[in-house]
Each structure stands twice: as structure tokens, then as C-alpha cells.
Amino acid sequence: MAVISESSEWTFELIEKYDTEIARIAKSYGLETYPNQIEIIRSDQMMDAYASVGMPIGYNHWSFGKEFLNVERGYQRGQMGLAYEIVINSDPCVAYLMEENSMMMQALVIAHACYGHNSFFKNNYLFKSWTDASSIIDYLVFARKFIADCEERHGALEVERILDSCHALRNYGTDRYKRPYPISAAEEKARQEERAEYIQRQLNDLWRTIPRSKSSAATSEVARFPSEPQENLLYFIEKNAPLLEPWQREIVRIVRKIAQYFYPQRQTQVMNEGWATFWHYTILNDLFDQGLVTEGFMLEFLHSHSSVVAQPAFDSPYFSGINPYALGFAMMRDIRRICESPTDEDKHWFPDLAGSDWLSSLHFAMQNYKDESFIQQYLSPTVIRDFQLYYITDNDRSDAIEVSAIHNENGYRQVRDTLAQHYNLSAQEPDIQVYDVDVRGDRSLSLHHQQNSRRPLNRNSEEVLKHLHRLWGFDVYLFSYNGDEVTETIRVPGKGLSLV
């Protein structure tokens, strides 16, 4: 077949041709995708997209402006390049291509985003169960309009305050232990009023001040509320905060729902990038094998590909943690290797995987895991050796950091377990839950923090509690537990202010 293009300049016709060829190859590998919407944008539009954390339509808030100024400054000073692409989990799947990119980069981005990420969004179980790609854009439009209306009615400052407080808690706005219903814009709108009314009724019941019958007042064992601890703080606020207006509850809900939309992305970085990188690598190599691209194209491609998957060592000045592209790509390739040409070691470690059909095994891995379980399941001794991974324990009660395991026979499992924990959100974020509300007393809200390996909360916690206090309206306590022992208590408002 003839080479598609020689020059490094892109045109719309060429993008279309490359897209057709890439789609053909992607299909032959069974990549199932949403339709693609490829948008060509300028670099300043890319900065806008950055600032709105990848949401194509966002409500207005100063924190996005701060992000924008930050990106703008970094870009203007040349401290950071802009990503070549941003892709949005929606149906159709929106991918942004920058006009500055060369033809090769556009082809790479199409393969990476429009077929790699896109098929991941469509098929990974987390995305399937937590997000609804077809309605996210509608929902964002609804959210933007709702918040703009609130600003008009209640003043921008009031709305900003609520948003500030919700943003402080947005990592605590998802149900971690049960599956959610995907969001749907149409239903949201229809049910919004109904919900507002319903909640008010529920609340009135919960906060009823008319004395109950004697029997229940007499029992000293008053049932705790909530009856079980709640990890979804924003949900709890939305449903139970005594003083919020209906519109404020709706804003809490919007922040919560958008946080939920991003929840799968936070848990599948390594896999998602690894998957997309694996496929752009495979697809572009196929293009070359079929004679569709030139050697110059391939050299340029390999240059940018190898910088994307570079992993600096821990003592390098460029080190900034483990590169999800590098780790993900290495693991995806390794799965293929184990399937196609397993060594004795692989057969011992992965008896089911070794020798199986690589394509279906890879699809299975992509569909059914998140980073934590993916690493736990698939990180092989080969990859651990290639990355020279080692595992250290930093105990503040000991005067030195200890090397607990390295890339050898005794260490593989420990390294793998620990690395998997890096990607476990419930280990990376403090475990904080609503424990009790003093329903019959001062209406104060108590949170419990269960420490993980004695790790304390950071200094921001009091600020966050102030935000929680704003939403709740009454005193808020946070008890930090190490096992059964309370090691720290924060109370907002502080004691000096209270009337007690």
C-alpha cells in the first residue's frame, strides 16, 4: 500500500485518512469504542480545557481561574509543555488535538485517545458502573445552568461559599462500598423538585422537636444516628444537614455527582494510560509494517513514545514518582509476552495466563480490574526486575528508613503487594466517616478517623472541618483513632468561640 503522507504538516483530509486506517487496525484487534469526535483546538483553548479539569462545560468558580493562571504561567515560562491531547469520557468520545502538533503527533493522539482511552472508557467495569458516558455532557450543562441560576437568585458570593465547602470535601463524595446508579440528566431535572420537597419532610422528621412518648425518652440506649458509619460525607450532608436550603442541597449533589464521574479515572490511571499507550504503540507499528507511514514518521514517533514511557530512577533529578504510562505500558506488553512466549518463571507465577490467547487475555484484564487489583494480579517478576523496584519502610519510631524488599525471589510478592496499595484510594486517603449526630442534644456532628499505620491527619484538617461546619450548621468534632485510642480531637468552632 502507498504511504499516506510524507510531510509533517497535517490537513483535515490527512487526519481523516489516518483515522480510517487506524480505525481499521483497531477493529482488527477487537477494540470496541464510542463514536469519536475529534476536535482541533488552539493552545490557549487547551489551557482552558486544562483549567476546567477536563470537563468540556463547567460551572464558574474561582478555583478554575486559579488553575488557569497556573497553567498559563507554566506554559508561558516554558516550565511545562501542554499535553498533546485531552480526552473526555462521553458518548461520542471527545478528543482534543492541538493545532501545533505535527501529522505524526495527530496520528499518535488519534490512536492513543480515540481508540485506546475510548475503548477503555467503554469497557472497563468501573466506568461502566460509575459513569454514564451518554449523559455526562447533558448533566454538566444542567449543572452549569443550575449554578448560574442560583448565582442570579442568591448572589455569587453565597454560591461560591457553598462550592468552596463542597470542593473541600469532594474526595469524600462517593460511596466506596456499594455500587451507584449512573447519573442521567433528564431524570435529575425531573426529580430535583420532588427530592427537595421529600428531603425537607424527612428532615423535619429527624429534627422533630415535639416530645416523643415517655417510653422512648426513658430508654437510656438511644439509637445512634446514623445507625451505621457513613463514608460518603457529601451524601450525608445533602440528605441530613439541618439548615441547608433546597438549592444548597442541589449544589452539594452536583459537586458529589461530578466527583463520582471522576472517581473511576482516579483509580485506573496506570491501566488506562498503559492500555492507551500499548495500543498507540501497536497500531502505529502496524501502520509501518503495512507500508502506510515512512521511516521518518516512525523515528519521530519512537522519539516521543520513548520519552512518554521513560521511568527515571528514584535518585534522578527528574524523578517524580512512578510514571503511570511507563508502568502501565510495561505491564500490558508483559501480559502479551507471558501469553506468547512464557518462561518457566512465568508458568509458575501465571499458570492460567501463560500460553493463552494474548488478545482476549488483555481485553479481560482491561475490562475487569482497577489499578490496585491489576497490579496485584499481573505485576510479574520480569517487570519488577526491569524497573528495579524496591520497597522501603519509613517508620517515625525508628531512626532510619529500612529497605524491606528488593527485586529478588523473596521480595517479589512484598513489592507487588505494597505497590498495589499505592493505588488503593482507601489506603491513600484518610479513612474518615460520619459516626454520630447528637440528635437530641446540640446537633453536633462527630466524625471518626481511623488511622492507617499510625499516620496522622495533615494540617489542613481543621480548615476542612470549618467547611464542613458551614454546611452542617452546628458544631463538628473529629476524633482521630489509633486502634481504640483517640490520639487527636479537633472541634470546630474552636473552644474559644463556643458558649459552653
Binding site: 478555583s63 481561574g65 470535601l169 528508613i401 529497605v403
Partner: protein, 427 residues
Amino acid sequence: MSYIIDRRLNSKDKSAVNRQRFIKRYKKHIKQAVSDAVSKRSITDMERGENIGIPQQDISEPAFGHGKGGVRERVLPGNKDFVTGDRIKRPDSGGGRGAGGGSASDAGEGMDEFVFQITQDEFLEFMFEDLELPNLVRRQLAASETFKLVKAGISEEGTPNQLNVVRSMRSAYARRIALGAKKRRRVREIIAELETADGSILVALQQELEELQRKLGNIPFIDDFDLKYNIQKKQPQPTSKAVMFCLMDVSGSMNQRTKDIAKRFFILLYLFLQRNYEKTDVVFIRHHSTAKEVDEQEFFYSRETGGTVVSSALKLMQEIVDDRYPVSEWNIYGAQASDGDNWTNDSSICHDLLANELLPLLQYYCYIEITDRGHQELWNYYEKLAEQHGDAFALRDIEDYADIYPVFRELFQRQADKQKHSQLAGL
């Protein structure tokens, strides 16, 4: 299936609103930074943007997270010679390097300020916020360049460039409906009848149908009397014409530093006027023993020295006012900078000149004295003036570069704010 869309033509500045909100939220910080920058900058340098730094702590968005301490386990790449059981000395505080920090916190050390750029416009905006020329009265509807075109409805007549396409099409559409309604109704009837008709009736019906359709086709799509035109009317705009007299002492007693401070004050003033008022004249008068009207370049940059007779400048100012700026049309302001030296006995002449001749014509006159010595005769006379004409006359002294901007702000504060301040002071 892929859709390729060119979004490059979409509007710019999607983030403008959010950026504005950020700036509004941190107004206090930015104002402070602008004020600091103004006193540090050189004069040629007033009109550009500025890097604003805000302490990272003030703008952080708090979130729950782990603090230091407890047991931390990490996996790192690139092991070269560690073996299990090795003990590594803990890096010094912060643990920034190597085994310690890495990606742990992105709000990490080293970045203690959030720095961003504001544009020149925003810079000036903050610089001159809440300032205005005192006692500005809208004098007259001046003759020139003060018309505004306003919409004045729709007309049947006009020139092609004023054609209102939407209105024209709307009326054409209405006309077409009106002219064809009857015929179209008949067409529908015939079509319905055609199904049942036969023989000669059928032929007659078909003929009628063709005839009707020909007539319908003859209704013109657009006709002369469909055309509608926008009409516009010129509306005179009241203008605020103001003239500002800048008076500066360039005598031998003014050294380079005091001249420089005076220059900066006037430049600030000049920028302020240019920015706030469309029609503002500026007259520069420099004086030593004699006064002379000069252009801007000469006012700030030429060198000339001699004795000091302040009244010469005031006299010249009065002449120029009489000559070119009739009080009925112009708001007149004066600003004078000096080191306070004056020819003996001249100060009382200045006092009389101002009190009797000039101040009745002027809206406002301000005097700044640049000196670190004690005040002299001129100041004492001017102080009397300030007592008598509190509204229209003000005097301040400047000792150093850093005083320029605060004094400037004080002199030109919005009237309402000023009253508030004085009331507070009164309490």
C-alpha cells in the same frame, strides 16, 4: 465512525470568567502588590502588567490528607545496590529528595508563592481604582466628536447598508402567505377531489390546478415594499472636558532626586487623566524665576535652572486660562510640585493670586511639597488657603519615593470615600 471538528475559530477566553472571579477574590492581595510595584518601578515603566505573588497558604483549597509521621511504605524504581535489611539515614527535614518526598505532596516546599500575571489594563485598573477628579461638573454639550448613534426604530425607506434582513424577510414571508392563502386552499381541495373525479371533470380540475400553481409561482419571493431599514439617530453626548495644569519648580534648589519624585507624581497624574477622562487637556508649566509653558517631553526631561519665583507660574496659568480655557466650558484643575523654596515675599503674592484670582475659577488645586526639611513660608501661606477653601485646595508633603503613590491616592480619593474617612476620623 469519527467526526472531525475544527474548533479553532471558537471564541477565546473561555476561562475569562473564572479568572476574573479569582482576581476579585484576591483583590486585597493584588492591590497590595500593585501598590508595592508602583513605588518600586521607574517612571518609563508604569504601563505594563505585573507579576502578582500571593502566599500559597492564602489560596490553598484544603482537603483531608495524611500528615507526616506514622509508618509509610513506598515502592520506588531504580534500585542499584540496596539489599533487603539495609538501613538508610533519613534525609533532612521535608524529605524532599530521593527516598523521602517524591510525588507525595504537590503543594510541596519551595513553592511558597502562587505567582501569576495581570495585564497592563488590570494593573492600571487596580492602580487607579476608587480615584476620580474632584468636583467634576459636566459643563456643556460640546460641539464636536460627542455624538452617539442610537437605534431609532424601523423605517420603509433607507439605504441598502441599513437594510434589516430579518425584518425584511419576515414581512416578505407574511406577504407571501397572505397573497397565496386562497389559492393554496383551493389547490388542496383540488388534490383531494382528483382522487374521486374522472372524465371531463378530471381534465378541468387538472387545468385549474396548473393555472393555480402557475399563479402561486408568480408571487415574488421578495418585493420592494417588503424591505425594511434600520434608522439611527445621532444623540449628543454630554462630555466632561477638563484641563489639568501641571506646575513644577525646576529652580536650582530642586536637586535631581526631588525633581525625579515630582516627575513621578506628575506621570502618575498624567496616566490617571488619560485613563479616566476622554477629553482631558494637560498644560505643563515649568518655572524658576520665570515661567514657561512647555510640552510634555520638555517638561520632564529638559534641564534648566535659576532662581525661584512661584507666582510667575501662577500668573502664566491665569493667562492661559483666560486665553484658552473659558470657565463655562472647562473644568480646570491645578497641581503644583515644589521643594518649598520661594523668593522672599513672593509667597504672600501666591496666596493672594490663588485666593482671589485662580481658586474661584478652579475645581481643585493640589500642592505637593517634596522635602525632608521643615516647611517654609510657602507652605504656611498655603496652609491658610487650605483652611479657607477646604473643598478646592489640598496640600501634602512627600519625603521619599514610597510616599508618592499613597499621597496620590489620598489626594484623588473618591469624594464619598473621603467623607466616610473624615466622618470616621471625627468619631
